[in-house]
Symmetry: C2
Subunit: 315 residues, 2 copies
DNA sequence: AGTGTCCACTTATTCGATTTAGTGATGCTC
DNA sequence: GAGCATCACTAAATCGAATAAGTGGACACT
């Protein structure tokens, strides 16, 4: 393992008295090759003794791509179910002898191209892709294992909760800045669809910006025009916090004046005052699916991973 | 650029009427090689026309390691100056024709080993290393470009602010859970050193845990034993939020009853009520230094990148 | 006896770039 | 005009593994 000299195929071949080809056949279980068990054992033992590990770069050069899957996160911020997604994906890939490389970078196209060129990954999974209209350069691409479909289901979870608690007219809070971009539009669309299925009244849209003053304005405006709105479903926990902060400025309190529910249960929800009810998403299951999709393997667990509401003080 | 056939060195050689060796010499500006400008131009033009890009895997195989630097984040959570650090590091590496790969994983040794084996990076920078006693396997390692030294300076910034605002006796809030581990101990040590240099009175330690009840207990306890404490400096913003949450439970308000200052200015500080004063750190400068250190280049900017206090409502 | 079929392997090529060790031609010096 | 250096290159080895195409021997079948 140390620096001075790692064992190569050739070393193993020499040690076991066969050619490198035979060693390769044995270690890779290459089909269509007739090699007696005794020889196989000899080779495998030699490999073990020498601590042989295939040189991934050499293999990748020969095979045309390395056993790496690149995950591009885009603008998605962590602290979300994303962590679980990554963990799940890493695990499933590992089971198939692949490695996950995560690229957090957002819009920087050049950095991604660099990375793709350097790693020559087997597949690139872009979680942000579904939210952008354009398809990019059409390079190596991969499915997201149902992440987007899941989004619709989780949005449904969020709004069903409000409907069941007796709220008829609600608002959906989307971040004001462009960063959230297509994702916000998508979530809003899903929210509308969900509400028309489970809700009794209307679903309005509030934009919550970074400056708390403008959010307070938006909120006051909403309550002026639609006093019947009794709950807010937020794009994510941060958007929910903005709503709560603006409410504090307006001397409103949750859940009395307005119930607030976040999305994707971040670490701060339990700390806020009032503590924030949110939707907790099982990212790991999706991560595993995404891994299988990237490698072109059949999906394994047809039971769709689910989301649940974590109830706290804000509703 | 598309899939069917990328140009290789050989193609460029054929197109410009020289051997692959010459092409390589020209494109890499190999020193000690006498090649007339006319030939060089011919080669470069052919390379441009064919859209030649060196195959990184092949190059890495030959050179023994790929032009990649692996950054291991350990337990450090984003939303901190860490983002800037990564950006700065990526940029500086890019200038030297290197690529940054970020490994967010925490304790998972196997995953890191996988990654190192797969990428064969030129260097591994482990930001968590300085906080752990052990030195690991002693594989490829790299300095952190003064990140740890900076920590001492930033802690000084945090405590100097409190001293200048007239606080004599303060407490330092560290997270209760093991996750923060060595980093918390390090910060505390730096805080003690800082306070003995700039503070008038004592520096106490409060442990803030995940459950808000226990944090409230700790806080009540502290105020019982040391009623003269007038300010809390927190390990990070999250620890500060825990203090603020516990204060709310105890019917105390900041900054009246207790001033609170966070560390590493996260995105939620401005949203909290009261909004949180924090220390903003210039991560990019450190990232650039770390990049240069990893490549073994002389540091460029001797002027140490600095930290500043962002003042908000909690102090 | 000749042909064919497995078996158990090996040889040699390939992936694409880097680099060492040349080689033929020219010019310069003594 | 012999000796030597310099120029402008090239041939071939190398990195480590994967694999297509053999190769010699044992055995069966007709």
């Amino acid at each position: 393992m140390s620096k001075e000299s790692r064992a190569t195929l050739k070393d193993v071949a020499r040690a076991s008295g066969v050619s490198t080809a035979t060693v390769s056949f044995v270690l890779n279980d290459t089909p269509g090759q007739t090699i007696p068990e005794t020889t196989r054992d000899r080779v495998r033992e030699a490999a073990r003794d020498l601590g042989y590990t295939p040189h991934r770069l050499a293999r990748a050069l020969r095979e045309g791509s390395s056993r790496v899957v690149l995950l591009k996160l885009g603008d998605l911020r962590p602290g979300h179910s994303l962590d679980g997604f990554v963990t799940g994906m890493r695990h499933e890939l590992w089971r198939h002898d692949y490695t996950l490389v995560v690229h957090p970078g957002g819009a920087d196209r050049a950095a991604l191209a660099e990375l793709v060129a350097t790693l020559a990954p087997r597949a690139v999974v872009d979680l942000a892709r579904p939210y952008q209209g354009d398809v990019g350069d059409g390079e190596t691409e991969g499915s997201d294992g149902g992440w987007t479909d899941g989004l619709a289901a989780h949005t449904m979870t969020q709004l069903t909760y409000l409907a069941e608690r007796g709220h008829a007219n609600v608002a959906f809070a989307v971040p004001g800045e462009a960063a959230a971009g297509g994702l916000a539009a998508l979530r809003l669309r899903y929210a509308r669809e969900a509400w028309s299925a489970v809700g009794a009244g209307d679903l309005h849209r509030v934009s919550v910006a970074t400056g708390s003053a403008s959010t307070a304005d938006a909120l006051r405006n909403l309550r002026g025009m639609h006093p019947e709105v009794s709950a807010v479903a937020a794009f994510d926990d941060e958007a929910a916090f903005r709503v709560l902060a603006a409410m504090a400025d307006l001397d409103l309190s949750a859940p009395g004046d307005l119930a607030v529910i976040g999305f994707d249960d971040g670490p701060y929800g339990a700390l806020w005052r009032p503590s924030l009810t949110s939707v907790h998403i099982d990212g790991e299951g999706f991560g595993r699916q995404a891994a299988r999709a990237a490698l072109g393997i059949e999906p394994q667990e047809p039971a769709a991973p689910t989301s649940v509401v974590v109830q706290r003080g804000s509703t």
